[in-house]
Symmetry: C2
Subunit: 338 residues, 2 copies
DNA sequence: CTGTTAGCGCATTCAC
DNA sequence: GTGAATGCGCTAACAG
């Protein structure tokens, strides 16, 4: 098993190493004939340049890191698909890291990445309002960073790609109000997620400004699906809302099941709208209206922003930019039974 | 912005480069005092070894590649989560590639990987019964390979991790037969996926051996969900099966919706069992029985197998092993309304 | 216990 | 147009 490197190619062709190197990079100072010979042999032997060597030499790795909390929901799967599309087209490689919501792990990843392992970093934070000192490390080393979805509000001089969580929550709530709902409940995830809070603020503000509803009605999901099911059932029976706004799709699915059990027809008896990335909920019931985040777009956009940073000439000037992508409201059918 | 490398550390501490290097690797031939000094400064300056340099030197990259078709279904998300757990614990990094079912892309990825970019490769094939010449390239370069889920049956001397698709399909079908179903339909994905074929074979064999059902009843899904919905509805009305075996979860969800529309109660009127990775279907209806693939386990197992190959001493002997993981049958509740 | 040296594979500068 | 030499940062063999 002989190692195929430019040295080997050079020896085979009776050329100097540097000549082979230049030929492979299609340098204009190499004759066409020589280039042809080199290319031919390289192809025949399946030569691939050693990435460590060229990385070490050129301070370029052709790799970017993607750091996300995890992959349990389809949102990040879609984001990564978008990232992959761009990365692939640029001839780059993706290094993938999961923080599992652990800030320490995030810090440790970023530190490791800060020494020339990658040309750039795409980050969705493990948790918000944390120490963000570690991100400065990247900047110090001149490694571009783009944050997406779970961004750090207080951090300046960084490119951020997010969605209009507040606005779309307002739109969703207004959608129910405009449809005639007088009592709208908001199904909230129990965790302390800022995205959820922002959405709830949209719900609250829309309610206050556009509805006569006396007070908001918020239900936090329990740890367990079955428990959430029970809570929701109690709430629906006791409070009798005529509109439901679910902050995530899973809650809409549970809600759907409760409605079925207690014989509430959607959308005749109660209207439901939900944030959603996958189409399970709407597949389940085409009458369900969804607010769909452009997850794939977020990935594409974030990756494109990162490559702009990687390729720009003057790295000394910090770039700050906020890209906000719009969610789409996909209306369900007007009757439950198609 | 001064570059922090061992050379810089050495100069600062008035030590030789090699001493610093050894100290950082905690070599036993360095005095405790020196080690302490080196560690202190390294930590202070946030020193991280340059991976290209150590990779080039030691022919180790601390990276593995994961090559999968895509991420659109949750199966591969779960697999990756399992891989990540192991990879993380070994201090390794994951390079992620999507083939999008394109065999040419798979070949191109593997070729690129074959030149020292990674220490090992985890592969789920883009499509089956294809040219597998490119995999020989990895072997030639001594880069270990572990295949999972979509493996190449005809390829010898390779470690493969799969699930018991045939057996679990038999079990699923028998489950319906034992529950008293006399006419069981199989919902098949329209694509030419071998996993789907294997499952159908399990259905057919179980039917033939254990049921008095005159002939099998197979429905292929259409391109479009709504179309599939219509087809399925027609089939249920016309054929009146009392059991449904769905090869993927999405089909079970659609089936569920059809049943609801034409007022068939699950499981009283019709029993449904489905392959599933996520819990959407069973969340939807706790009476649904599912065959759950151990997706996370597949990831863990495949990664563990790969690291065994990476770390073993004698790389000259080819290893062949087939690890088959068992799917779990999760019984739904006996009544639809809880 | 510590220092000197060579070389991993490649790209680039300088010679010719 | 081509060849020879240098160094990217690190590790390991060899000295002392």
């Amino acid at each position: 098993m002989n190692k195929i490197n430019i040295k080997y190619l050079a020896k085979e062709l009776n050329l100097a190493i540097s000549t082979v190197s230049r030929a492979l990079r299609d340098s204009h100072e190499i004759s066409a004939a020589t280039k042809a010979k080199v290319f031919a042999l390289a192809k025949e032997l399946n030569y691939e340049p050693n990435p460590n060597a060229s990385g070490l030499r050129g301070q370029k790795t052709k790799m970017i890191a993607v750091v996300i909390p995890d992959m349990v929901n389809d949102f990040f799967s879609l984001v990564i698909s978008g990232i992959e599309k761009i990365t692939q087209s640029k001839g780059y490689h993706i290094l993938l890291y999961f923080t599992h919501g652990d800030h320490e792990l995030e810090v440790s990843f970023i530190k490791t990445l800060a020494n020339g392992r990658v040309d750039g970093v795409l980050l969705s934070m493990s948790s918000e309002n944390n120490n963000r000192h570690h991100l400065g490390e990247l900047e110090k080393k001149g490694i571009p960073l783009v944050m997406f979805d779970r961004v750090c509000d207080t951090l300046q001089h960084v490119v951020k790609v997010t969605t209009d969580n507040y606005e779309s929550a307002v739109i969703a709530t207004r959608h129910l109000i405009d449809a005639g709902c007088k009592k709208i409940a908001y199904l909230q995830v129990h965790k302390n997620i800022s995205v959820g809070k922002i959405r709830m603020k949209g719900y609250l503000d829309a309610l206050q400004q556009h509805s006569s509803q006396a007070s908001p009605l918020v239900l936090e999901s329990a740890n367990d699906n079955e428990e959430t099911f029970q809570f929701l059932q109690q709430m629906l029976i006791k409070e009798k809302p005529d509109g439901i706004f679910a902050s995530i799709e899973k809650l809409a699915v549970i809600c759907y099941r409760v409605c079925e059990k207690i014989r509430l027809k959607i959308p005749e008896d109660i209207k439901v709208i939900s944030f959603s990335n996958l189409q399970t909920a709407s597949l389940l019931n085409p009458s369900l209206t969804t607010i769909t985040q452009p997850a794939f777009d977020i990935g594409e956009t974030a990756a494109n922003e990162l490559f702009q940073l990687i390729n720009r000439k003057d790295k000394s000037v910090a770039v700050e930019r906020n890209v906000v992508l719009k969610s789409r409201l996909i209306k369900g059918r007007s009757t439950a039974r198609n």
